[in-house]
Symmetry: C2
Subunit: 207 residues, 2 copies
DNA sequence: GTCTATACCGCGATAGAC
DNA sequence: GTCTATCGCGGTATAGAC
């Protein structure tokens, strides 16, 4: 996630910029972030930053590309683990929850991108995730046909699930105020994860 | 929702500005929206707009205030209707779903505000919604104690539910790409609503 | 109430010295 | 690779004529 240039002790300036840009874009959005903010966070001047990245847009593009490839890799791993029925669903669910908990900045950027509909880049976000989506639909419908899962609309279930899982992390400043506590501390994250698992289990299984 | 100055045929310039600002802030966010965009949408110049609102910040504040009071009113109505058990939950759920479907621009602004943690205003969003939240927690826990609803963490259930319901509307540009269709057309919205009801019913009831 | 004109600032980006 | 200096643009906001 954080860029390690092989086994150097200090990351390259380029990678420092990518890390700081990720943080700023997640926190304040594309429009709300200035190159000055990022440069200041790294400890350099704006023109020095533009020596490493041709423009704000390409910098954002690189941040987003790294985000997508990191996530894809993790998702592929989780999906590859062999399991069946509810166990499989729980495994993927847990993988997503762990992933999101470890990379909250990614989550917030994704949410902003989904909100804006991908204005900032040519990248078609839903297009990239479409294979995962279609795969999951097929799996869920198979389990429903087999009588393992409760019959629900698989496509809407996935969209609802995506919203249910993502929101806790993307809207954590808001959640803080609702629960009068830091939503992103270890215990609360753990509680949230167990709740989501229980919730989906309860909805999908008649045990 | 849309401002009607008593029963005039054409709304006041001030209300036209509020409507256009709502649209722009929802679509492109606070930072992404310029006063030029709003003024152009109304058909006036930027200085004319600033004759009606002292600054961009106060304009945003007024838009948000109207949003909150509109929603509160609707929510209060829905909660006031007498019902018990699952019927009550379904009633409130449907009220929220209808409300969100009718006011997608509100939803997107709310989501942006939750993401940003209320930077743009002094308004503490979670503080305003806190009474509803605490009320709902009490109700859910009562139903769980009575054995009507499946035992789940009521607070997390509400947060998860909030995410599940809001996301379809806030991220509709993204959903479009997943389902290869306009998420906000009548049929898809109706399908989504029925799905959410079924999903929660399945999770909360053992019928 | 709306306009033109203008002041002022911060932004992204470039040129060129070191 | 980093810096200072600068350009050009678009942003918010104000002044003053109509």
């Amino acid at each position: 996630m954080s860029n390690a240039t092989s086994s150097e002790s200090s990351p390259s300036t380029r990678d420092q910029i990518l890390d700081e840009a990720l943080k700023c874009f997640a926190e304040k959005g594309y429009e709300g972030t200035s190159l000055n903010d990022i440069a200041a966070g790294v400890g350099i001047r704006r023109p020095s930053l533009l020596h490493h990245f041709a423009s704000k847009e390409t910098l954002y593009g690189d941040v987003f590309e790294r985000l997508l490839s990191d996530w894809m890799e993790r998702l592929d791993e989780a999906i590859a683990v062999p399991a069946t029925g509810w166990d499989k669903a729980e495994l993927v669910l847990r993988a997503c929850l762990d992933l999101f908990a470890e990379t909250p900045d990614y989550v917030r950027i994704m949410r902003r991108e989904a909100l804006d509909g991908g204005i900032h880049l040519g990248i078609d976000l839903s297009g990239v995730l479409r294979p995962f989506f279609d795969n999951a639909v097929t799996y869920l419908e198979g389990q429903m046909d087999a009588g393992v899962f409760t019959r629900l609309d698989a496509r809407h279930l996935l969209i609802t699930g995506y919203g249910a899982i993502l929101t806790y992390f993307s809207d954590s400043p808001f959640v803080d105020g609702l629960i009068d506590d830091n939503a992103m501390n270890t215990k609360n994250i753990s509680d949230h994860q167990e709740h989501v698992i229980q919730f989906f289990r309860s909805a999908l299984l008649r045990s």
